[in-house]
Amino acid sequence: MNITNCKSSSRNSMNLVDRYVQAVRFWVPKAQQDLIAEMAEDLRSQIEAKEAELDRPLDESEVSAILKRCGAPMVVAGRLGSKQYLIGPTLFPIYVFVLKMVLLWILLPIFIFIIGPVNLGNTGGDWGLAVARTFGDLWSGLFVAAGMITLVFAILERTQVQLGLADKWDPRSLPPLRKQERKPTLFHSFCEAMFSSIAIVWLLLLPHYSGLILGPARAFLQPGLLWHTFYIPILLVALVGFLRPAITMSRPQWPWFPHLAQLVQTGLTLILVHAMLNASIPTVNGDWHPFVVLTDAARNSAQYIRVAAIVNVSILISLASTWLGLSIAGVIQTWQFLQYLRKKKFVTAQPASLQAQ
């Protein structure tokens, strides 16, 4: 804009305005450039009005104060320009939902249950290296997946694809109401405590009566050394299994306890099963600890050797399945506990709800 006709203003002051306008123009799209011209005219009118009021030209600091009041160039450009979205408000909730589904419920479990164990195998059982590799892969995987999803949604936003979400819906096709979260009933906790106490008694009797687990097979099979090593930890986990429902019954004022205790019990069991699996899997040196071994009388029988092998493999598969099931349960229980904490925080922070027409 030509400023030479502003006779009353000093050249330096108008130079400052031009520099300011140029800085704002840099951030404003071409379609909105005429707004810049209007704003520049407004600024000059302000300076002129002030000069008329003071009956002298403004100095640089006074012009600078007017421009400062107007705002930083980037902020002013943001106000002048039209609102721009990478992903608009219509698509944004769907974008967040898809992002959560893919990252939390697909990618994370794949890395924990598939990529992690594969890395563990590839590193020859080196846990540290396997975890580091898995985290590295997970980190880049999360970025790539999030980037791809964002790109797809940004393209949807730009191409204005009509998903027809506003029209193509039927109230009758809405999902049913979610069931209210059910607290463990007294009867449920009582049954759990009772069965846990039976299990503890059974475990306590086991060292003296091996028939309780082996049945008639005790004639040619006996528990391996592994059970002696893990007997106390198993007993302790069983004790936790008894205490959890017992405390739930006796402390109903602790609503957080069942969630947390269940999670702790799952974690402890998972650690125990993992340690048992580690001990039972043959090492590179050929050392391993079978679950059952043959008695001295049956040691040379080919038939019993085959039976012992089948029993060992069956127990190994059962433990591996248990480990997988507990891992999934652990993820779900962690999620449920976090949901519980979030709800609790929300309820605490929400003192009132007003209904208005």
């Binding site: 011209a37 704003m39 600024l43 009118s45 106000r79 002048l80 007003l354 208005a356």
Partner: protein, 123 residues
Amino acid sequence: MYVTYYMANGTNNADVLENLKLELRRGCLIVAVLAQLRLEQYGYTLRKALADDGLAIDEGTLYPLLRRLETQGLLVSQWREEDKRNKRFYRLSPVGEQILNQLLEEWNSINASLRKILQEAQI
């Protein structure tokens, strides 16, 4: 319609009030701008007139608003030279005149309802 009044811990009440005041002003500003532009004016004089009447509005808010109202057909504008400077003059279009009258009716109706509600609530 359900309005949830949510006050999280640490929320600054002054910020909440400022946001609510901005929301309240937003609709009123449009009516004020349309009413002021019954007489032709350019940006700076319009801003000054609004500020003198107690409704100050910054450049970054006014010019995009004028652009939007013009796109909606409520204003007409013209670049013209005055005092050897190019200025964009705005005035209300015939459609804008009609819309302004309807908005003022709505404004009066809302005002009356609000007064009634406040009297009933004895505020």
